[in-house]
């Protein structure tokens, strides 16, 4: 039984790490800040969710498992808010650059 749990953990954790790699690839390759925000928050959250799912059978006690899910829930909510905040900052920054470029002759 514990072998099965270890196999499940290994599978899910490696899938999570794969999604992290996809998020980083998105961050490095995508041209526009807004698409990067989208790629980063989505891929990282799925990666984190898979890692937490994979680690649940390894958690020492039920409390540790609940705390892992709490960490994932906070990261989920935080990244939703962070992507909105950073998207607004990106459009604001583009706007500032546009006005600065207009002032220069």
């Amino acid at each position: 039984m514990s072998l099965l749990l270890d196999a499940v953990t290994l599978l899910l954790v490696s899938a999570g790490v794969l999604f992290f790699a996809a998020g980083t690839l998105g961050l490095l390759r995508l041209p526009d800040p807004l698409t990067r925000i989208h790629a980063l928050t989505k891929a990282d959250n799925v990666g984190l969710a898979l890692i937490v799912l994979g680690l649940l059978p390894q958690a020492g006690s039920v409390m540790a498992g609940v705390k892992m899910i709490a960490v994932w829930a906070l990261a989920q909510i935080a990244s939703g808010a962070v992507s909105q905040v950073l998207a607004e900052a990106a459009t604001l920054e583009a706007q500032i650059e546009a006005t600065a470029r207009e002032k220069r002759p």
């Binding site: 999570g16 680690l55 960490v71 990261a75 990244s79």
Partner: protein, 96 residues
């Protein structure tokens, strides 16, 4: 099993290192903040991975705190940009 979790944690750290390349090459501040957010969620993943490996539940609290601080950093960055809220999304022909 513990060393496999350590290996996965090391892999996530490597991925965060690759993400830092975006920080080093970052064109604008927004790209640096994004690389920082990647580092934040990568740190959460590493802390979560090595917590059962070292059977140290205190690391879960560190992961919780890292999640909180990463979110606050983004909000601080937005606050530093000043109170101007961008106008309603007009036609997107204005490419930066």
């Amino acid at each position: 099993m513990a060393d496999l979790l350590f290996a996965a944690g090391a892999l996530v750290l490597l991925i965060c290192g690759a993400g830092l390349a975006a920080l080093w090459r970052g064109e604008g501040d927004i790209d640096r903040m994004l690389a920082f957010q990647l580092l934040g969620s990568g740190a959460i993943a590493v802390l979560l991975l090595i917590a059962p490996a070292m059977s140290e539940p205190a690391l879960l609290d560190a992961a919780l705190l890292t999640a909180l601080l990463a979110a606050l950093a983004a909000c601080a960055y937005r606050a530093a940009l000043g109170g101007r809220t961008p106008p309603a999304p007009d036609a997107p022909e204005r490419q930066p």
